[in-house]
Amino acid sequence: MNSHLSIWLASALVISLGSLLVGIALGSVNLPFATVLHALTGRETGLAADIVWQLRLPRVLAAFACGGLLALAGTLLQALLRNPLADPYILGVSGGSAVAALAAMLFGLAAAAVNLAALGGALGAVGLVFALGFGRGGSMVRLLLTGVVLSAGFGALISLLLTLAPGAEVRGMLFWLMGDLSQAQAPGVAWGILLAALALAWWQAGSLDILGLGEIKARSLGVAVRPLQLGIYFTASAATAAVVVEAGAIGFVGLIVPHFVRLLGAGGHRRLLPLAVLAGGSFLTLADTLARTVVAPQQLPVGVLTALLGVPLLLFLLARKV
């Protein structure tokens, strides 16, 4: 069983590295793989090295971290809510973030202020859902409904802001809403959160499996259910907030990747979590590479690509398995 896991992990790691290399090589200027490798190892200097180190590497690293974070958050929320439809945005984190970020854009604030507003909105939504959903007598159903209802409310506010915005602003807002990695900077923060969240979740992998048996059974087996639920909630929220602030609301990765990995046969969370992170990272890196290249030098919002690629892929797997 453990050797099984290492085979899976090794293949996923190879795919991940491959997707990163492809992401670095392809763009408005295509670089040969040899050049990429030489630039990465410092044997190549000049323009190619600048493209690799200044432009492509930060971008693919940001894409990979965001994809991993979304897949991790989706996996965790599906375990917490025991609902296969749960995705990182189901609890309203992206909605709250979007409302604040769009409002900041509407007032013409600078990009840094928009990012700060996005972070504030995300944390505000996390706090609101937590207070309403986990309060006295809280249950996971209530948490889910609270998140869904608040998301709907945020959706209405987003529409309102888009309606009020002058035409020139709307395009930028739509890019933000659909998820866009072209503004992504400082992948270090996202990577730090990704590694910390993955370590935390992996440490509790056995408890996550048992949570799936229901709260009563989980408690009778010695799981501290409420602290675990709170831990999952905040870990998943932090992961989602990190992505939303870095790249906006990128859809489908958090919903589709965990199912994709499960359909490939990864049952328990000890296997599911690292594989989902690697698969999500690779998926978003490749989707972002496509977003940069299909109509280069124009860039598409990566959220469009994740949906266009992810929907048929998952539909195919579902039809084949069930």
């Binding site: 453990n2 025991r82 440490w203 056995g206 408890s207 499996d209 048992i210 799936g212 048996l213 229901g214 009563i216 059974k217 408690r219 009778s220 087996l221 010695g222 799981v223 501290a224 499960r262 049952g267 328990g268």
Partner: protein, 253 residues
């Protein structure tokens, strides 16, 4: 090493389930909890297993209140088979039974003896042959036996089972009860189970706990408590006694 409930008060909104219940369950004993739907059997079982806090009174194991045990420590002493759990488990029968080892493992990797314990538990319910099958491909009765195997893998001192016979055919009902009976009689465990099958309760339980609708609870030796008169009052239904070779059974009149 006994479970003791001391002057327990339990209620659900609008209904008092029990008042001042005092009860001792010792190793080797097999208890049947009987009562009408909604009489509080599950609530009582959960309170006795430490899954809920009674309004008043205290439940102790080996003299120590259940609330004072760290959760995993308690899980090594008291195991619960809930009525149903819902949710879908993706994985094999063996993976599922292995979850029962959670309170014993370090919580990270499963040790070889955990795997062995899970397989041995599956063998005891006759499910070892399907250990590699995906759980969600099993029938309801097979799944119930695997759930019991998970509890056996947990290896507690006290088994609390909520309707352990649900989904089981007659033959497997007898087999599971024989197994539970053996746990008590030969392996020094204590068994506490909610049952609707009065016939089985009379045959396999040495103690009974009757939960009447008016909140009265009677505990005692099964042979004394399981009489036609008591059961008629318990289930509020006329019963006809049918003599059998080794005891009595009752059918609705």
């Amino acid at each position: 090493m006994a479970l003791r409930a001391d002057r327990l008060n339990l209620s659900v909104p609008g209904k008092i389930l029990c008042r001042d219940l005092t009860l001792t369950v010792r190793p080797g004993e097999c208890w049947g909890i009987l009562g009408r739907n909604g009489s509080g059997k599950t609530t009582l079982l959960h309170a006795l297993a430490g899954l809920s806090t009674p309004e008043r009174g205290v439940v102790t194991w080996a003299g120590q209140p259940l609330a004072d045990y760290p959760r995993r420590e308690l899980a090594r002493r008291i195991g619960v088979l809930p009525q149903d759990e819902g949710g879908e488990f993706r994985g094999t029968v063996r993976d599922y039974a292995l979850l029962g080892r959670y309170p014993h493992s370090a919580g990270f990797a499963s040790a070889a003896d955990d795997e062995e314990a899970a397989l041995a538990a599956l063998r005891r319910v006759g499910m070892a042959g399907l250990a590699g099958r995906a759980l969600n491909t099993l029938s309801g009765g097979e799944r119930q036996r695997v759930r019991i195997a998970m509890l056996l893998a947990q290896a507690p001192q006290l088994y609390c089972l909520d309707e352990p016979l649900q989904h089981l055919d007659l033959g497997h009902q007898a087999e599971v009860l024989r197994l539970l009976r053996k746990l008590a009689a030969e392996e020094g465990k204590a068994v506490l189970m909610v049952l609707h099958e009065t016939l089985w309760a009379g045959r396999f339980c040495d103690h009974a706990l009757l939960l009447y609708d008016n909140g009265a609870i009677v505990a005692g030796a099964a042979a004394e408590l399981l009489t036609g008169e008591n059961l008629e009052r318990l289930y509020q239904c006329g019963l006809q006694e049918v003599p059998t070779a080794d005891g009595r059974c009752w059918i609705p009149a």
